[in-house]
Point group: C2
Chain length 546, copies 2
């Protein structure tokens, strides 16, 4: 059997546009004489559709679009994901996350998703019921076993601890499937692709089954889908691997003999750079913006974000502004100018000092008898926010915010100040990783000026301020944060590993108490297995670590 | 049997404090010679604990605290809610939302929750597994049937459409329960109490069962728990009703004869005022603040929020600031001063004009050849945000934000400007309801100056600006919003009701496109059945109504 995978990039809710993408991919498949064309999970509505699922008019529009698509099919199969509904049986939602198989003008077969993920960024139980049955379907002398994403992630032989008691893939196998098709929409995080491939290699060789795995590509607000669709033959050999972070059209022939693909994941730096570039590009373009704005401080975070924006949108679509005060180092402008030159972007320089001075003057009475404290630092940061938003409003720039994960974790950021912006580009990248990535970018040629990489990190909001006056050294801080956030280790375990209970206590307390800031943060592009945002939900008002 | 309900106010995660509350309530019950003392759902950890549940150290601390509590029990029963764990069977979370019955020094019986809600503000499937069995327990010559909140909301005889196929209450009934105990943590929304009582009246009379229903009280960030615990006798008569919006200790004797309680819900205005006062009080006190700050514009929203804050915290703990510009009407100060006088609070007046002028001067170059637009309006709003946050930081005031639901729905608010603040007090109250409530407050005496109620709403950000220049009249707008948000009606239905498709289109589009602002909004106190915030999740980047 000859099967095409359409690894395309949908827009959530844009049923018309997504439908056209399906028809275009199907046409291309037919032109290539394939037997079957496969699109990813929920492609017709985009993933995740969230509470749009609860709108009857939305589900109706999907139903009509699915029938229109089916009506245009010929003797070539088409599988795509969409939302379907059962007759209301008066219990539950009667709504399903489904794979539709169409040919000869009709929807011929529908398989609902069985395993409904409801952890981290997944909320699917909110919307979808679990399939009541799992069936195979005969198509062109093969027995297709169609599953949806999570359905394939519960193999009893692979996982020591399983999330679900059922294994739909086992059912498909027992019912005689010869080819497994999985349609997926699984958000990217570094390391996940490798884990997935190991699991599926074992599954396909154990069960002697071909596997066609269609992945989404594109970013949807904070979630990034990395593409990399693939096919395993029935010996557990990976035969095909789609492009990463871009659309692709792949054709797999079950009878062909392929060389095994072994390189599936690039370096951390390479992968994360590509993921973030896609994240910026899709956020900007899918919201109809053209240009972005970044506030350049002279530090490494804003330098990296600017670089990534240029890669995503082209240098002509990135504008930066420098906003010095009397506390800004000489380097803050000089180093920024070097970066601006290296990247070839437009810029301006607007001092915050006059506004800062007048603000303090206006607040003089209110601040009487009070000593200088963090208030004055925050005011500076907020005046920068004021400028950035003014430029964004006036020139229709989308503002990118530049905070890293270490800062966002510890609350080392000013709400309504440097936290202003529509998208937090590196909010899931620790400070030490920011350096790692900057050095990687510079490995052939100095793009991010070395001065920026080498200087001690500082917010430059008071004389001679350094980040390390308030925070532990970043390598130590990031290690604690990683153990706490991604590894989900307990305080005692972390203290044992780090060997400094007091410090660990302090850091964990900072993380827990800064939930109120993160509630009001911009969406953060997710590249780790536990990002701040939708997939991490803690009470703002709480007494656990007060 | 003599049963005490401890309708107390826990703090999420404060296991030590909540444990002490349980022991104090138990002691009081013993002193009153009751047979059984009942606390609400998940009282030991507070509800909702969210991702704290995923922390092993948190669950361990709960286990230890529960055993400590049990060790102090005598021959009087104690039921409270906590998180329990099964032996890991290698499938699922093995974590339960449970009711623990303790006496004579031990945890004698544990009933897990069967129906796990996962809609609107509920995410419990993320954490908890469903009980595998439902059992009754004999205690002091009665058969107790213990259930947890949602368990009692699925009666096949009452609901036309049920969420779940199971009915644990039916099991308890069939197993011979003589008294139903339900421990609950159900967030308040106006109208819900009445619906609940109608359902339970039918259930208790149909099944000939006593019902003891223990409710939480207190606010947890955006969710408000209204208390009003109650008992039905086995004829479906409501015998006892706890205080609303405050802690209470109730004793029910099954053998006693009670007068039927009929008045269960006050007026909309009365209920919502009480709910919001509790919401403010608990947010401020549970986060350890004393004083709050409100920016007084001379409009009705900030006047109402100030009034509510005074009721919640006392006049000595509310400070306001007026921040006029050249566009401010004379009334904006005069009317505010009248309110300040009426409420007896401290205030100050700081013009934004000098900062606005210098900001425009600094941005002159950037704005060259561009006409005046909404940018200049946003700058004014953001300078007010800058002042408010400066005062908040310097004096440790918690800033309350004053946007109403109509504004938040349509995006008629400035991000990082008037949206600044820790808590959006009236963000779930439509503008027309704000008037309704203000008139209610004034019904005996003019507290909110009539001038404020009578003037046409205006942001006063440009000459002679009125809200109605940009938005439809509020009575019409609010009707559309209510149909769309709370009633979840489709566009066509709303158009038919309103009779103006173009207008409905425009409003729905505004709602859908302003998700990005709401992502960065403060938590909103929830008083309707569909509030912006945790219980409403829409994609930011989407093409459904672009």
């Amino acid at each position: 059997m000859k099967i095409a995978i359409c690894q395309f990039n949908p827009i959530i809710g844009d049923i018309k546009g997504n439908k056209e993408k399906i028809l275009a991919g199907y046409k291309k498949g037919c032109e290539n004489n394939v037997d079957l064309v496969v699109f990813p999970e929920l492609f017709l509505c985009g993933y995740p559709p969230l509470d749009l699922v609860e709108k009857k008019e939305f589900r109706n529009a999907l139903q009509i679009a699915a029938e229109e698509i089916a009506s245009k099919t010929i003797d070539v199969g088409l599988i795509f994901g969409s939302i379907t509904e059962d007759e209301d049986d008066n219990v539950g939602t009667n709504i399903y996350n489904s794979a539709l198989l169409c040919y000869n003008g009709e929807i011929k077969f529908v398989q609902h998703k069985t395993l409904i993920p409801n952890y981290d960024v997944f909320d699917e139980v909110r919307y979808f019921e679990s399939a009541k049955t799992v069936e195979v379907i005969e198509f062109k002398n093969e027995i297709l076993g169609i599953s949806i994403c999570e359905d394939i992630w519960n193999d009893a032989d692979y996982w020591k601890h399983r999330r679900y008691p059922l294994d739909p893939i086992q059912h498909l196998y027992e019912k005689g499937a010869t080819i497994l098709i999985n349609i997926s929409a699984s958000p990217y995080s570094f390391g996940k692709r490798k884990e997935k491939f190991e699991m599926l290699k074992k599954l396909t060789s154990d069960d002697n089954l071909h596997l066609v795995y269609a992945c989404c590509v594109g970013a949807q607000t904070e979630l990034i889908f990395d593409g990399a669709s693939f096919c395993f033959d029935n010996k557990g050999k990976m035969c095909l691997l789609g492009k990463k972070y871009e659309e692709d059209f792949l054709i797999y022939e079950t009878k062909n003999n392929y060389n095994e693909i072994l390189e599936i994941e690039s370096s951390f730096e390479d992968e994360v750079i590509s993921a973030l570039i896609l994240g910026i590009k899709d956020y900007v373009q899918k919201t109809g913006f053209k240009k972005v704005l970044v506030g350049l401080s002279g530090g490494i975070d804003s330098a990296l974000v600017t670089y990534l924006a240029v890669q995503a949108l082209g240098k002509e679509n990135v504008h930066v502004v420098m906003m010095p005060s009397i506390y800004s180092s000489e380097g803050s402008i000089k180093d920024s100018e070097k970066l601006i030159y290296n990247l070839g972007i437009s810029s301006e320089n607007i001092s915050i000092q006059p506004v800062f001075d007048v603000t303090l003057k206006q607040l003089e009475n209110s601040f009487k008898n009070k000593s200088i404290d963090i208030t004055e630092e925050n005011i500076q940061s907020r005046i920068r926010g004021l400028y950035l938003m003014a430029l964004s409003n006036k020139h229709n720039y989308l503002l990118l915010t530049t905070g890293n994960k270490s800062e966002i974790a510890t609350g080392y950021a000013t709400l309504y100040g440097d936290m202003c912006g529509a998208l937090a580009v590196i909010g899931d990248v620790y400070k030490t990783q920011v350096y790692q990535i900057a050095n990687f970018i510079n490995k052939e040629k100095e793009i991010i000026p070395n001065e920026i990489i080498l200087k001690a990190p500082s917010a430059e909001l008071r004389p001679n301020q350094k980040d390390q006056d308030s925070l532990p050294p970043y390598d130590l801080l990031d290690k604690i944060l990683q153990l706490y956030l991604e590894e989900q280790k307990e305080k005692n375990e972390i203290s044992q590993i780090i060997g400094n209970e007091e410090l660990v206590n302090k850091v964990l307390r900072l993380v827990d108490l800064n939930e109120f800031k993160r509630k009001q943060a911009a969406p953060i592009l997710r590249v780790s297995k536990k990002a701040f945002g939708y997939g991490r939900r803690f009470p703002i008002v709480q007494g656990w670590r007060k």
